[in-house]
């Protein structure tokens, strides 16, 4: 186990920021941390990276305890803090050189070239960090976290501020890294979890409420199937709801409806027959994925 967290708790005064959280992450796994703002995601990451000490519990990284062996832990970890702190008056290369020196890397120049290339900073490498846009600053943050080729990457909202093109690049970069390393990342974006993560942990009010694969989590929404239907004509809502196996129907647009099935039923066949019987022209009949958003809301609104 490259990262192991056991009964980790952090108290800020009387408030339990993180409450008895346990989980494990294996090498070659990308773990997504989900939770509403203030749920304790960043605090958990800060404890694993030895920035703040836990009130109780234990965290180990590659077998090294964060309290007893912080230096070894810091060597193993690449960390991107949530606020992505950088020295704005340093040049991109200068900053990465500094980080390389801190880690006492032997082939700094070559490694920086690799990272600059990997994170798409080539055109910006001679600029001052303060002059870069938010997305490029984020890339510098990611580059500094990965510079010393750490076994464990802890990225607190790595994709915030990136444009859609950059998002795709950075996501595939992280997914590739995840094949041989351990990656823990936090995010608010559900598609990101589906795109990158092998496993998801959902935290709410400091407590762990779910620890599963994204696929399994999706199936949790009470087993209902959601189908998007579009007719050329406008049938009566009443008739639609009367189709067998249908629980509720929601109107989306003019001729579009979202049909929610009763648990365990797939209403598509019935809808097709219904359209054929009534002589309606069926334009769309599409099974929607019950989204992770629903699961997330269900689990964190308690």
């Amino acid at each position: 186990m490259s990262v192991k967290v056991e009964h980790l708790t952090k108290l800020y005064g009387a408030q339990r920021a993180v409450d008895d959280i346990s989980f494990e992450v294996r090498t070659g796994e990308v773990l997504g941390f989900l939770g509403p703002n203030g749920a304790g995601k960043s605090t958990t990451m800060k404890m694993v990276t030895c920035f703040v000490p836990q009130s109780s519990g234990k965290a180990t990284v590659c077998g090294f305890d964060t309290m007893n062996n912080p230096m070894e832990v810091r060597r193993k970890i690449g960390y991107l803090p949530e606020s992505n702190p950088l020295y704005y008056d340093m040049y991109v290369r200068e900053y990465l050189e500094f980080i390389g020196l801190v880690h006492k890397l032997s082939n700094i120049g070559k490694r920086i070239d690799e990272m600059v290339d990997m994170t798409g900073l080539t055109r910006e490498r001679h600029k001052k960090i303060g002059q870069l846009s938010k997305g490029y600053k984020q890339r510098v943050g990611i580059a500094q976290a990965m510079l010393h080729n750490p076994d464990v990457l802890i990225l607190d909202e790595p994709t915030s501020g990136l444009d859609p093109n950059q998002l795709v690049e950075i996501r595939s970069l992280i997914k590739n890294l995840g094949k041989e390393k351990t990656v823990i990342l936090s995010t608010h974006i559900m598609q990101e979890v589906q795109a990158m993560c092998d496993r998801v942990i959902i935290i709410n009010k400091g407590k762990l409420v779910a620890d599963d694969t994204p696929e399994h989590l999706q199936q949790r929404t009470a087993g209902e199937t959601i189908v998007r239907v579009e007719f050329k004509e406008t049938p009566e809502l009443k008739l639609l709801s009367a189709i067998s196996g249908v629980k509720t129907v929601k109107k989306e647009k003019d001729n579009q409806w979202l049909v929610y099935s009763q648990p365990g039923k797939d209403p598509r066949e019935e809808i097709f027959r219904f359209a054929a019987d009534k002589g309606l022209t069926l334009l769309t009949l599409n099974k929607e994925h019950s989204s992770l958003e629903n699961v997330f809301q269900e689990l964190t609104n308690k």
């Binding site: 230096m71 810091r74 960390y79 702190p85």
Partner: protein, 244 residues
């Protein structure tokens, strides 16, 4: 430690901070030693650099807190302290890197004043008729004083995220430890009883002692322990975030 030292030195000399500090120091001391009618060496008639060594602590009183005020306060307010302390660096590495960088800047501000020494050496009648021992002693004393002020400045910077608070606090502590014990020792309460002892707590007594040209181990021990105490205080402050 070396990586932090390099970063700090680069920060001083790639921005205006380093140059401003050096130029301001040289302009003020230059005016006092060569231009101002009440203090300049030329009118005074004696080949000595006393005016330089008298005014330098006053200039450093403001200049060194200005150099050190950002050292930790800026890292705390930018959050870069989180980046630094999650890297394989010990707190003491970070502090010493910043300490030696600031001390280097003090050294560079002092270096050009050797020209004053050479000039006065040439002006002496006969040539070279000046108390070189006292001057070298004073330079050593100034460096130690700089080291003490830098350690105070780092401490003041570590306890706040606000650079102005850091500056004012550092300037006050420098003043307090440099001069106030001299004045306090004159209080009737202490006078002729323990005034020597009170005076010896302050920096000034030791600075003057070294300035005479005699480098006494007592003064060395004083300056080294003074600096060490403030560096350890800074370390304690940085580590305090780890207290539960």
């Amino acid at each position: 430690m070396l990586s932090i030292y390099r970063k700090e030195i680069n920060a001083f000399f790639s921005s205006l901070i380093g140059y401003i500090a050096i130029v301001v120091f040289l302009v003020i001391t230059g005016l006092i030693v060569w231009v101002f009618p009440d203090t300049n060496v030329l009118d005074y008639g004696y080949a000595s650099l006393e005016s330089l060594f008298f005014v330098a602590p006053w200039v450093y009183l403001f200049l060194i807190p200005a150099i050190t005020m950002r050292s930790f306060a800026e890292e705390i307010s930018n959050g870069t302290i989180e980046m630094l302390t999650t890297k394989p660096l010990r707190e003491i590495d970070i502090i010493l890197g910043k300490y030696f960088a600031a001390l280097t800047l003090v050294f560079f501000s002092l270096l050009p004043t050797l020209i004053y020494y050479i000039a006065i050496y040439q002006l002496g009648a006969p040539k070279g008729n000046l108390d070189s021992g006292a001057i070298w002693g004073s330079y050593i004393g100034l460096l130690f004083l700089g080291s003490a002020f830098v350690s105070i400045g780092l401490f003041a910077s570590s306890i706040t995220s606000n650079q102005i608070v850091s500056f004012v606090l550092a300037a006050f502590l420098c003043f307090f430890f440099h001069w106030s014990f001299d004045f306090l020792s004159g209080l009737e309460l202490f006078y002729a009883k323990i005034d020597d002892l009170i005076e010896a707590i302050g920096i000034n007594a030791h600075y003057i002692s070294i300035s005479r040209g005699v480098v006494d181990t007592r003064d060395l021990v004083y300056f080294i322990s003074f600096t060490a105490i403030f560096i350890l205080l800074t370390k304690t402050v940085l580590e305090s975030r780890k207290w539960k």
